[in-house]
Symmetry: C2
Subunit: 362 residues, 2 copies
C-alpha cells in the first residue's frame, strides 16, 4: 500500500503507527473480546484510556496543576459560543484579535448571544497576511478576556509570541497548531483545539482551562455547555466520543515517542523550511501569502502568477499523488498543511515537485 502525500488542512494526516495500532486492536481491544468502541464509557478499561489521554497531554505541554484538561464534543466552533456564554458577565467585554475567518466566526458568536465585544486589533486590511504586533493590541480593564487564534489555518499566519493580559485572561483557539511546539501555558486562561489537525480524528475538542474559570458560569447555561459540568464529571457527564479519545491517546503517545514537543517543533521547522525555501528561491514564481515574520509552520499558503497556472499546478500535483493542496474555498490558491503527522519525506516530495513544476513552466 502506498500512502498518499496528505497535506489536508483538517481532518488531516495521522501517524501511520497510530493507524496500524488502531487497526490491530480494532476488533479486540486488550483481549476484552470487544472493540474499544464497544466498551462502556463507565468501564475501567475505557476510563484508563480517557485518563491517560489527559495525563499525556499534561506531560507533553507541561500543564501546571491549576489547569484541567476537558474533552468536549461540537468542534472548535461550539467553543466560539461556549466562551462568551460561560465567561462574559453583564458589562464585560469579549475582546478579539482578528486574524482571519476563524476569529471572525468567534466574535460573531459572541454577538449572536448579545454580548458586548471589541476588536483588539485586526489584520483584515491586508487580507489577513500578518499577525498584529503585541504593541498594536487595544486591551482594557473591562475586558472579560482577550481572544486570539494562535494559527490561522486559512491564511497561513501564526503567532510567535503571546501577549500578557490582566489576570492572564487570554483565551486561544489553537486548533491548528496545538502540540506543534512548547507553550507558555501560564499566559493563558484557556486553550482549545479541535483534534482533527494535530491531535487525532475529528469529533473531539480538547480544552485546557485554568481552574478558577470554572466558577464563572451563569445559572442559565445548559448543563452540557458549562465547563464546570465537564470538570466535575471528568468529561464523563454524558457519553464522550470514546473512539476519538482513544485515537487522541494514541497520537499523544506517538508524540511522546517522537521525543515530545521540542523534537516535534524542530522537525516542523525543518519541514516548513523545505517548502518556504522552494517559494523564496523561486524568483517570484511562487508567492507566499503571509508576511515573513507571520508565517505559519503548519499551513503554508502561496499563489502562482495566474489563476490558470495555479490550477495547472494543483492538477499536476494531484496526478502526482499529492492530496489537499488546494487553498481554502474562501481564498483560493494553494496551501500545504504540514501538521505534526505529515512526514518529512512528504514535504521533501512536495519541495521537489514544486521545483520541477517551476522548471517546466517558468
Amino acid at each position: 500500500m502506498k500512502r498518499a502525500y496528505n497535506f489536508n488542512a483538517g481532518p488531516s494526516a495521522l501517524p501511520l503507527e497510530v493507524l496500524l495500532k488502531a487497526q490491530e486492536e480494532l476488533v479486540n481491544f486488550q483481549d476484552t473480546g470487544m472493540s474499544v468502541m464497544e466498551l462502556s464509557h463507565r468501564s475501567k478499561d475505557y476510563e484508563a484510556v480517557h485518563n491517560e489521554a489527559q495525563s499525556l497531554l499534561k506531560q507533553l505541554l507541561q500543564i501546571p496543576d491549576n489547569y484541567e484538561v476537558l474533552f468536549i464534543q461540537g468542534g472548535a466552533s461550539l467553543q466560539f459560543s461556549m466562551i462568551p456564554m460561560n465567561f462574559l458577565a453583564e458589562g464585560q467585554i469579549g475582546n478579539y484579535v482578528l486574524t482571519g475567518a476563524w476569529s471572525e466566526k468567534a466574535i460573531k458568536e459572541a454577538k449572536i448571544l448579545g454580548r458586548a465585544t471589541s476588536i483588539a486589533a485586526s489584520a483584515k486590511e491586508t487580507n489577513y497576511d500578518r499577525i498584529p504586533k503585541l504593541s498594536e493590541l487595544n486591551v482594557a480593564p473591562e475586558d472579560g478576556y482577550l481572544h486570539i487564534t494562535s494559527n490561522n489555518t486559512i491564511f497561513g499566519t501564526q503567532w510567535k509570541e503571546f501577549p500578557t493580559v490582566k489576570d492572564n485572561m487570554l483565551i486561544a483557539d489553537m486548533s491548528s497548531d496545538i502540540l506543534s511546539k512548547p507553550l507558555p501555558i501560564n499566559n493563558f486562561a484557556m486553550i482549545y483545539a479541535g483534534a482533527q489537525k494535530n491531535l487525532g480524528p475529528s469529533g473531539i475538542t480538547v480544552v485546557i482551562i485554568r481552574k478558577d474559570l470554572l466558577e464563572r458560569s451563569h445559572d442559565q447555561v445548559p448543563s452540557v455547555l458549562r465547563y464546570d459540568t465537564f470538570s466535575k464529571n471528568n468529561s464523563l457527564y454524558n457519553t464522550p466520543p470514546t473512539f476519538a479519545i482513544y485515537m487522541l491517546r494514541n497520537v499523544l503517545q506517538w508524540v511522546t515517542d517522537q521525543g515530545g514537543v521540542e523534537a516535534i517543533a524542530k522537525l516542523n521547522e525543518d519541514k516548513a523550511a523545505l517548502i518556504y525555501n522552494a517559494i523564496d528561491e523561486s524568483n517570484g514564481f511562487y508567492k507566499g501569502h503571509a508576511q515573513n515574520d507571520s508565517r505559519s509552520l503548519m499551513n503554508i499558503t502561496f499563489n502562482l502568477s495566474s489563476d490558470e497556472l495555479s490550477k495547472k499546478f494543483l492538477q499536476e500535483a494531484k496526478d502526482a499523488g499529492f492530496v489537499g493542496l488546494n487553498g481554502h474555498r474562501s481564498v483560493g490558491g494553494c496551501r500545504a498543511s504540514t501538521y505534526n503527522a505529515v512526514p518529512f519525506e512528504a514535504c521533501e516530495a512536495l519541495r521537489n515537485f514544486m521545483i520541477k513544476f517551476q522548471k517546466a513552466n517558468a
Copy 2:
C-alpha cells in the same frame, strides 16, 4: 478471538461484520492511500459516505421527503437543550412525559433555559415501571411540543404506540430504540438518537426533523446549536465526526443486509423473549422491573430476591464472560441490553446462564 457476550447499555455491541470491515480498510480507505479519518470532510470520498448514511437511514425508516436527516455532535444530552432553544417561542410551553431519568434531564434543561414547561404525565410514583397510557396524557393548545422518551434505557420501559398531537408536534428521544422496529414517522416533528446503542459508536447524534421546524430558531441561538445551520450545510457547517459517521453508514448497511427493520424487529422480539421467559418462568426467582405491557425489547431490567443474590449473579455472570449486566448506577439490580447488534446466541447464552444460576441458588 472469542467475542464477549456484550450487554452494555451504550456504548454497546457493534456488528462483528461492521468491525471487520472497518478494520480491513482502516489504514487505506478505498485505495485512497489514507484512512477514512484522514480524508477532508469536503472531499468527494468522504461526502459519499456522509450522504449514503443519510439515504440508508431514510430508506430503512421510510422517512418521507418532508423530513431531513442531520448529524450533530454533543450526544442526546445536547438535544435536551437545543430543542427548547430552537422551538419554544415566548409563551409556548414544552410539555414532557416523564418516564425516567432521561426525560427528567430533558425537562430540566428546558427549565435552565428559563422556558415554560409542563408535565403531560409521569410514572415516577411507581418508580418508572411503566409507560403512561395515551389517555392519561395532558396536552394543551399552548404546547410548543410534546416530548417523550420512546425507550427508557435505565428502567427498561418502551412505548408501544405513539400519541397524535396538534400539528404532530411530537418530539421523541429514541436514543435506545431507534431502528429496532418500523416507525410511524409522520406522527413526529422530530426524532433524535445518540448513535451509541443501535446506530454506531458514540460521538454522533442523528436527528430526523420535519422541514417546517427549521424556520423556528430565534436569532439569538448560536450557529452550531441551530437546526437550520445543519440543514443548510448538509451537516457540514463545521467539521463533523467523520469516522463516527462512517461507522454509522456501515451499521445502516448491515441492518439493510439483515433484511431491514422488519426483520430486525422480529429478531429483537425473539431475543428479548428468551430472557423475559427466563424471568417469567423462574417462579419469582428473577423479578422484572417493568410492568408487562411496558416492557422494553432493548433493555431488560430485573432483580433477584436480595442484593446479595443479585451481586452473586452479577459476579458469576462476569466470570462466565458476560459484560454489562449491572443495572444503571442510579437503580442497581440487573439489566441486559439486547440492542440490534447483540447476537441471538448471546441472548441464548444468557438465558441458559440464568436458568443454571437459578438451579444452583434457588
